[in-house]
Symmetry: C2
Subunit: 187 residues, 2 copies
C-alpha cells in the first residue's frame, strides 16, 4: 500500500516534512510513505489553462502522484491563520476536472505542526474542508503538534512525545483502514 | 486616493474581475481603482526564499503595488469551499516579514462572486481571516454575489441588481473612510 506524503511547507528543514517522515516510521507493515517533492513546481491555478491540451507546469506530476497512491497524508503548517496558499493551489488543481478529479474518493488524512501554541489547528481544519469539497474521503481527525522546534529528537528526528506518536499511529491506522473499502469500490 | 483591486480568479473573463470593475465605477470622486495584474507571476511561498537578497519572481511587484496603494479591494471566487490557493499565496508573501509586511495596517475590503448559490461566502470569510492574521485593517462586511453568470449586463458589465450596487457602494464607502485614519497613523 502506497501513501503519498505531502508537506504544505516548502522549507528544506520543514518541521512538517519531519512529521511526515515520523508518520512513515509509524505506518503498519505493508504500507509505505512516498514523499511528493513537486509542490513548488505546480503552476498557479487558472481556469483558462484547464482547457489547454498540455497541462500547466507541475500539474500532470501532481495528479499522477495522487492517482497512483492508495491514500494521501498531508502535513501542513499554518500561515495567517489558514492553509498555505501553495497547498491550497495543489488541492485546487487536483480537484479538477470535477468528474475525474485525482482527489475524488481518495482517502486522505491531515496532520500538522507549527512553532506556536496551537499546532496549525486552523490550517488543518481548512485543509480538511477543502479536501471534502474536492470529493476526497477525509479522515475526521487532526494532530495539532504545537511548539514544533521542541518536538523532534535532534539525532533521529523521532517525535519525543510518546503520546503524540500513539495519536499519530491511530490516525494512520484509520487512514489505512479506509483504503480497503476505497479499493473495493474502484473494482 | 488609490485602491488596488485584486481578483482571486486568473481567468480572462473572470466574473470577479468584472465585479472589481463595477466597484471602480461606484467609487466616490477622488478615489480610483487600479487593477493588479501580477498575481499569476507570484512564486510559491517558500520560507527559505524569504532570506534571499533577490525576492522570488513576482513578489517585489506584489509588495510594491500593495505598499503604494491607500487601500486594497479583493474580489474572490470560491474553490473547494475556500480561498483560491493563488490568492492565499499572495497574502502569505505580503504578510512577510511580519514587522514590515506590506499588508500591515492596510485597509482591505473583500467581495466575491461565484456561479453557485452562495456567492463565495466561505472564500470571503477565509480571506478576511487570513488578512486579519496578516495585520491588515479588514472591513467587516461581505458581498456574496450568487449566480455570477446572471449578474452582469452583457453590454456595459454593470451589476444588473441595483440593491447589489448599493450594497457594494456602502462597502466602498467604509473602505475609503478607513483610509484617512490609516494615513494619519502613518504620518
Amino acid at each position: 500500500m502506497r501513501i503519498l506524503g505531502i508537506s504544505g511547507s516548502l522549507r528544506r528543514d520543514s518541521y512538517n516534512t519531519k512529521l511526515l517522515r515520523e508518520a512513515g516510521r509509524l505506518l503498519p507493515p505493508g504500507a509505505e510513505l512516498v514523499e511528493f517533492d513537486g509542490l513548488k513546481a505546480v503552476a498557479p491555478y487558472d481556469a483558462d489553462d484547464e482547457a489547454s491540451p498540455v497541462p500547466p507546469r507541475g500539474v500532470f506530476e501532481l495528479r499522477a502522484a495522487i492517482a497512483e497512491a492508495d491514500a494521501i497524508l498531508i502535513a501542513t503548517p499554518e500561515y495567517n491563520h489558514s492553509i498555505p496558499g501553495v497547498l491550497k493551489n495543489a488541492i485546487d488543481w487536483a480537484s479538477r476536472p470535477k468528474a475525474e478529479a485525482a482527489l475524488k474518493n481518495k482517502p486522505v488524512a491531515v496532520i500538522g505542526t507549527s512553532a506556536g501554541m496551537f499546532g496549525a489547528v486552523w490550517a488543518q481544519a481548512e485543509t480538511r474542508k477543502a479536501l471534502a469539497g474536492a470529493g476526497a474521503r477525509v479522515i475526521d481527525r487532526e494532530l495539532p503538534v504545537a511548539s514544533a522546534d521542541e518536538q523532534f529528537h535532534p539525532l533521529d528526528g523521532r517525535l519525543v512525545d510518546e503520546d503524540l506518536q500513539t495519536e499519530l499511529g491511530g490516525i494512520l491506522h484509520e487512514l489505512v483502514a479506509e483504503v480497503q473499502p476505497a479499493l473495493q469500490r474502484a473494482s
